[in-house]
């Protein structure tokens, strides 16, 4: 397995919203989708996944419905609600702003001060 980075606090919610925004997923599917999206570069601790899903559902950002999985098993599928979509957009913008600001800061050289 390639070298993996720990997840920054607060980014798990963002990643889950992003993963679900690409199509309905069950909990294990969310995990796989995140691994796939980050090409395995980020380590999602499985222990944190379900509490986060339940919290997001409780906040009305995710909808959950029971359905049937690829291997014909009953599974709970999560989809993004309108509020979730809005939150994803906001969080993405805020993330981009922060990360570009940090990237700029890290590129700074003494002479430019």
């Amino acid at each position: 397995m390639a070298e993996q980075a720990d997840l920054l606090p607060g980014t798990l919610d963002l990643l889950i919203l992003k993963a679900v925004s690409l199509g309905a997923l069950h909990g294990y599917g969310v995990l796989l989708r995140i691994e796939q999206m980050t090409r395995g570069a980020l380590l999602v601790e499985q222990g944190a996944l379900y509490p986060a899903l339940y919290r997001l559902e409780h906040q009305g950002l995710l909808d959950a419905e029971w359905g049937v999985s690829d291997n014909n098993r009953r599974a709970k599928f999560y989809t993004l609600t309108a509020a979730g979509r809005k939150r994803l957009r906001e969080e993405t913008e805020s993330w981009n702003r922060t990360s570009s600001a940090i990237a700029t800061a890290l590129k700074a050289r003494p002479s430019e001060g």
Binding site: Y28, Q46, G47, P51, R55, H58, G60, A75, K76
Partner: protein, 886 residues
């Protein structure tokens, strides 16, 4: 927020589904992961192990998921409740003591609040009661309380102003009619209402129809509406009753319908079983025909404004149109000043949702005082329960310390202890509501006067339940928080190391709670002492006549007065000492006044004296001393010269420095100008109340009056009045064909004027005794706990030679400090508080030494008695046993 509530609600209400779903979801995750790992080449057992390892603790995940869904709080609360109930089951004595104490404290509050609610807060059971206004009639020249009465013609004019009013409900109740004839005659409560009454209130009949404006027209047939309660009592809810005739005071009326259940008139507390329209009054009560004229202000009115008209607009329109409105209500023959009073008057609006009752004026202040009293009782009860909680918290120190040591947060434990308090408080409140409903009837009896049955709806309603819940929660906070904080404050390590058998730490909270109880009890005892002494002072006031042994019978329904011969038969009855007739009796609540001044002075428009019509024997029967001149005799008839007897206060006010006998008065007697010769002077008697000023009075011979005179018979008796009552009834009944004769005691009429004072003295004393008992339990608990804790110390003292008396003194000393400080705090507080109700006292000041001294002495005695029991137990400690048990 709504999404959160929805998901929370779903999770709470379908908890099993929630748990099953979570289970299935995580199982699915693990199986999928295992399958993936197997696909990568791991053997099944190793794949399953790896999947479980990656997933971590399932229970921890579930717990965090529950927290994510907002379920943790409710889970913990349910846990707390279960834990609390389990603890109470193990400590039944503690739980029972706390609940009983709280039930008494909260029940007292609920009972008094129910009374307040029934009298002042409960809305009339009518359509949109909050839109009703009680009309007031403000005469600028008038002084004294706000006038709420209107003349019938004035209400009719107001009613016709449909640019202002949607309807006006005029009413006058607190009357009695005779229903039926002969042996089946009974007296029922009655009300007189305007034609728009039921329509304005928006009531739907339970049967038939209600009165309407057609019934309130001159010459309309007499129509009667029954109350639902009377329909049930007298007619067993017979639906055929509508359309049937009913005899009212001997006059045939038609029962047109029954008013809805729960509604018994706009006069709160005074039910009306039969209601007729104003226009029918002259037929049913001929002497009251005058009431329909312009000069009598006797009806109260609830109004509903025209939709879209605000109270201010209505007032403005009324004031603009006032001269036109007032004109038809003014009698052109009136003197100018009387006319001006009406033209200058204004109609005002006060909220009318709660109807009207004379009881409100009477009881608002006493009820506020009682509310203060029961609040203090509740505080004392709180202090008791807090002491219990503290004692228990000490016993649970180790348990709490262990829980703190293994990682429970302090907030979490405080919350759990508070849940225990809340459960106790709610259980106490539930018992308290039950106690209050039981006591409610008794309390209504204390405040009921003899004016008729007082019917108040005291059934628990939203107001009462909300009040009780609020009180219970405040109570739980009061008695629960301090012990909870104190018992979790200690360092767990030190508690756990402490010797199990001898807890050394002492709570300073416990003695201060007992001190507060002593102070509060003293305040209550002084208060009830002041009220008891007030009642006693009023009971010993000499009213100027002897009411003991006098029976009275009202013959108001008798037209044309009673012949002198009727008294002869009464006087021959064995046991009758004397008998007389009069138009009024003292302290009856009804009165008659006229202008009367010595001849030569111009007669004023206002009345100058209270008038009584009295037959020969009146002063003998009531034992009113004659100061000068003579009593009325059989020679004073309509054919002889008009004479009068005046009282000493009349002489002092109008005939100072003159010999009154032989002086002549010019007076108006029942609309007739007369000259009266004074033939006697009598002692002044109390007439309006026992405590107020006594009026200048003129007595005229009953048999010199003309027309329909109100009549009461007074009979002074000796011996058993129970047997006499029947004989008197039999003798008088032929005089009164249209009503049953009711014989009453004059002394109970006098007592009825003291109903407010009696209520404060009775209920105040009851609550004072309750407070004292609670405080005694408090001091007993404090010392008993101390003795149990100090058994070893006492044993050592006795082993070293302390005498049992010395030990008793040692323990009693523990009671003295809270008692002394309590008294030191309670005395000034009682003095400050009692100044607030100074005007309710009679014949004493708030600094009354007997009330204060008596209350203090009682408190000291009871506190010592309560302290003596644990002290005696301490003196009986066997040193050997006490030391061996270590």
């Amino acid at each position: 927020m709504p999404a959160k509530l929805r998901s929370f609600w779903r999770a709470v209400t379908r908890r099993d589904d929630f748990e099953d779903g979570m289970d299935a979801e995580m199982r699915f995750h693990l199986e999928s992961r295992t399958a993936d790992l197997m696909r990568r080449g791991l053997p099944p057992a190793e794949a399953a192990r790896q999947a479980r390892l990656e997933f971590g603790s399932i229970e921890k995940q579930k717990d965090e998921a529950r927290a994510g869904a907002g379920l943790r709080l409710i889970d913990e609360l349910i846990g707390d409740v279960r834990y609390a109930l389990r603890t109470f089951r193990r400590n039944k004595g503690f739980a029972a003591a706390a609940i009983v104490t709280l039930a008494l404290g909260i029940g007292a509050n609920t009972a008094i609040f129910s009374l307040m609610d029934g009298l002042m807060l409960r809305h009339l059971p009518v359509h949109r009661p909050q839109d009703l206004w009680l009309l007031t009639f403000d005469e600028p020249a008038a002084t004294g309380p706000v006038n709420e009465t209107f003349s019938y013609p004035l209400l009719r004019v107001l009613e016709s102003r449909n640019d202002i009013f949607a309807g006006i409900a005029g009413f006058s109740s607190d009357r009695r009619f005779t229903v039926g004839t002969g042996a089946s005659m009974s007296r029922v409560s009655a009300a007189i209402v305007t034609g728009g009454f039921y329509e304005t209130l928006g009531l739907v009949p339970a049967l038939g129809r209600l009165l309407n404006p057609n019934d309130d027209a001159p010459g309309a047939p007499v129509a009667a509406v029954l109350s639902d309660g009377y329909w049930e009592r007298a007619f067993a809810r017979d639906p055929a009753v509508a359309g049937r005739p009913i005899l009212l005071n001997g006059v045939t009326a038609e029962i047109v319908g029954v008013s809805p259940r729960g509604f018994s008139g706009a006069n709160v507390g005074v039910t009306a079983d039969v209601t007729i329209a104003v226009a029918a009054l002259p037929a049913v009560v001929p002497p009251d025909a005058d009431l329909l004229g312009r000069g009598n202000f006797w009806m109260r009115a609830l109004a509903r404004l025209r939709p879209g008209v605000s109270r201010d607009e209505a007032a403005a329109r009324l004031s603009a149109a006032w001269p036109a409105i007032a004109q038809p209500a003014i009698n052109p023959a009136w003197p100018e000043r009387r006319k001006k009073d009406i033209t200058d008057a204004r109609v005002g609006f006060t909220p009318g949702a709660t109807g009207w009752t004379y009881l409100r004026d009477m009881y608002t202040r006493p009820l506020k005082v009682l509310m203060g009293i029961v609040t203090l009782v509740l505080l004392i009860a709180c202090a008791n329960v807090a002491s219990l909680m503290l004692a228990r918290a000490t016993a649970r120190r180790r348990e709490i310390a262990v829980r703190l040591a293994i990682g429970a947060g302090r907030g979490r434990i405080v919350r759990q202890l508070f849940v225990e308090s809340a459960i106790l408080s709610l259980a106490g409140a539930a018992c308290g509501v039950a106690l209050a409903s039981l006591a409610g009837g008794a309390i209504v009896n204390v405040i009921a006067t003899q004016r008729g049955a007082l019917v108040l709806d005291l059934a628990p309603n939203v107001n009462i339940l909300a009040f009780t819940m609020g009180v219970a929660m405040a109570t739980a906070l009061l008695f629960g928080i301090a012990p909870a904080l104190q018992s979790t404050a200690a360092e767990p390590g030190s508690v756990l190391q402490e010797d199990r058998r001898t807890g050394t730490t002492r709570s300073r909270l416990l003695p201060s709670l007992v001190t507060a109880q002593m102070a509060l009890s003293l305040i209550l005892l002084i208060g009830s002492g002041l009220f008891i002494r007030t009642l006693r002072n009023l009971n010993t006031v000499d009213p100027g006549f002897q009411s003991e042994g006098v029976l009275i019978a009202g013959l108001e329904q008798r037209p044309g007065g009673v012949p002198a011969s009727a008294l002869e038969r009464l006087r021959t009855l064995p046991g009758v000492l004397s008998a007389s007739l009069s138009t009024h009796t003292p302290l009856s609540g009804s009165t008659w006044s006229e202008p009367a001044l010595p001849v030569g002075q111009p007669l004023p428009e206002h009345d100058t004296a209270v008038f009584f019509g009295a037959s020969p024997g009146f002063f003998t029967t009531l034992q009113i001393p004659i100061a000068a001149g003579r009593e009325f005799t059989d020679a004073d008839t309509r054919q002889s010269a008009p004479v009068a007897i005046v009282n000493e206060d009349y002489v002092r006010q109008y005939l100072a420095n003159r010999n009154p006998i032989g002086q002549r008065l010019s007076a108006v007697v029942r609309n007739e100008k007369r000259e009266l010769e004074i033939v006697g002077v009598v002692r002044t008697i109390a007439h309006f109340s026992l405590r107020g000023a006594r009026p200048a009075t003129v007595y005229v011979p009953y048999h010199q009056l003309t027309g329909n005179v109100p009549t009461t018979v007074e009979i002074r008796t000796i011996g058993s009045s129970a047997t006499l009552t029947a004989a008197i009834q039999q003798t008088l009944q032929p005089l009164l064909p249209t009503a049953p004769v009711e014989v009453r005691l004059l002394s109970s009429q006098v007592n009825a004027t003291l109903v407010q004072e009696r209520m404060l003295a009775t209920l105040g004393t009851g609550f004072g005794v309750l407070a004292l008992a609670l405080a005694a339990v408090g001091i007993y608990g404090l010392l008993g706990y101390g003795v149990a804790r100090r058994t070893r110390e006492i044993g050592i003292r006795m082993a070293l030679g302390a005498s049992p008396t010395g030990v008793v003194a040692l323990i009693l000393r523990g009671a003295r400090a809270p008692l002394a400080v309590g008294i030191a705090l309670g005395l000034p507080a009682a003095w400050a508080l009692s100044r607030l109700f100074r005007s309710m006292l009679f014949g004493l000041t708030p600094a009354d030494p007997i009330a204060i001294g008596g209350a203090t002495l009682l408190l000291v005695l009871v506190a010592h008695a309560a302290a003596y029991l644990p002290a005696r137990r301490a003196a009986r400690v066997d040193p050997l046993v006490a030391l061996k048990c270590e």
